[in-house]
Amino acid sequence: MTSSTLVSLQNVSKQYKKLNVLNSVDMHLNEGEVLGLFGHNGAGKTTMMKLILGVISPNIGRVSVMGVAPDSKEAWYMRAKMGYLPENVSFYEQLTGLEVLTYFAKLKGFNKEHAIKLLEQVGVDHAMKRQVKTYSKGMRQRLGLAQAFIGQPKLLLLDEPTVGLDPIATADFYKTVDQLKTQGTSVILCSHVLPGVEQHIDRALILSAGNVLAMGTLAELRQQANLPVVINHTGLNGCVRDDSKLSPFMTQHPSILHVPEHEKLETLRHLLAYEYLDDLHVESANLEQVYQHYLANHSADKATLKANGKGTK
């Protein structure tokens, strides 16, 4: 662990009544790092965020944010340095956007001018004098983001930030995240929407039923998962079958090859040597496939575990 570690969870478990929501989770987040938190509904993502925010306390293990336990009294001062966007929050409907944001800004020790600046930043300043109940879903989400950005936080926790945003607003949002990152802000990003996230996260953490299935950079995860590169070629027709170098990679579809990552370049060179090759399309495993791989592996493990358990009884 380096001195720039901002958040760390060590062997953290959390139970609600008898239900295990998190199982000995270890993770850490460095300054200026963006972590993607992925998992199905009920995987424990929101619980993890609540633990980091200090709203709940772990049953076992240690949570540390900026060097202190977030649920302790000493953590008070750093709460103003954290921004949080909850999932499905609906702000005070009868207030205007500006009134809502001014209220939250004041609670963090900022004024109305700061609120107006943030509303301009997320692009709802044109509607800031209107009641929130007239806002569209996208505008509400932007208001929520503005709320999370109050006071230039050092740590941002965003639960499904792009839900309800149109593609342009989503692009704007990621631009802001990239910007905050260069200013040293750490971000934990929780999302179901996998495409589009990968360019903006440094590392990914995959959770399932309270267990960490995988954590690392996308390249690391890809390597661990050992997912093949998909090469889609046209113009070669039947000669792939006869090529001893290419035939092992063939799939049911004759024009699609599944090549291991480390043999990618060699295979490509080999393919390019064919002069009647018309087109090539190369695609590394994306986040979604990596995610599916880990989840499928996990459920397969569980199935064998169950089967073994039954066998010994």
Binding site: Y16, V55, I56, R79, M82, P86, S90, L95, K106, L107
Partner: protein
């Protein structure tokens, strides 16, 4: 520490203004008190003023139903409503303690109730005073308004307790209605039944002590104490002859404001959001 409480209080107070709570309650109280003051004698066939103590007595017997109902209506969804919309969780991630949030809300909504009571009932007091220049009006109405405010604050705090115990808004509404029914209606009937059915009869002391368990009854005692026996009947008449002073009654009323607030705060601290 105080700044956060005031920020929350300010928001809650403005919500009360925006939702027309302040103006509605003030108008209801004003119409009620001016009506009773000037037409209180209508029941006996004449139009005109009745005695000051009778006016306050009839005001009190109406206010004892209205004020708890209004306070419960104003505040029952204060926490459960924010919990349902997700803003409660968000607020708790702010540099704002649960106690500060509770006190802020209490200060804001309590001010709405207090101000409406003062303006609404104060209006008829001022009118009466201008017409008769009787200084008794100020002291009698002063006591009435003060106890009415305490009654409102007490039920605001009780509403918070309800709002923090339940997890759905509709349940909170149901609970609030039951609490109102118990304190404003059922409690007195039960006392009366006890009085009639117990062979030996309960002592005057015992009855008064039982009445301390209900802030609505303390309010009644405070405002009916100045009356002649002929104006009051039932369980109250006996209790009025008890030895508790106005000061003592007011103090118990204040306990009825603080105790539910402390309980609400304890529940809030233990609550999983």
């Amino acid at each position: 520490m105080m700044k956060e409480i005031l920020t929350v209080a300010n928001k809650e107070f403005h919500d009360g203004l925006r939702n027309r709570w302040l103006i509605s309650i003030t108008v209801i109280f004003a119409v009620l008190s001016i009506g009773l003051t000037y037409f209180g004698a209508a029941a006996s066939g004449t139009v005109g003023m009745v005695s000051l103590s009778t006016t306050v007595a009839s005001l009190a017997s109406l206010a004892v139903f209205l004020i708890p109902l209004i306070a419960l209506l104003l505040s029952y969804d204060s926490f459960v409503g924010e919990q349902e919309s997700g803003t409660l969780l968000l607020l708790l991630t702010y540099p704002l303690s649960k106690t500060q949030l509770l006190l802020g809300k209490f200060l804001g909504q309590g001010s709405i109730i207090a101000l409406a009571t003062l303006l609404g009932f104060g209006a008829s007091a001022v009118l009466l005073f201008v017409q008769t220049s009787n200084t008794d009006i100020i002291t009698t109405f002063g006591m009435f308004i003060m106890s009415a405010i305490l009654l409102g604050l007490s039920f605001t705090a009780i509403a918070y307790t309800i709002s923090l115990v339940v997890s759905e808004k509709s349940k909170a509404a149901g609970f609030a209605l039951i609490i109102w029914f118990l304190f404003a209606l059922a409690f007195d009937l039960a006392l009366l039944a006890l009085l009639v059915s117990v062979d030996q009869g309960i002592s005057q002391q015992g009855l008064t002590q039982l009445m301390m368990l209900n802030p609505a009854d303390i309010f009644r005692l405070i405002n009916l104490a100045g009356l002649d026996n002929s104006d009051v009947n039932g369980a109250l008449a006996i209790a009025i002859k008890s030895s508790l002073s106005q000061g003592q009654l007011i103090s118990i009323m204040i306990v009825w404001v603080i105790a539910p607030l402390v309980i609400a705060n304890l529940i809030f601290k233990k609550k999983n959001i």
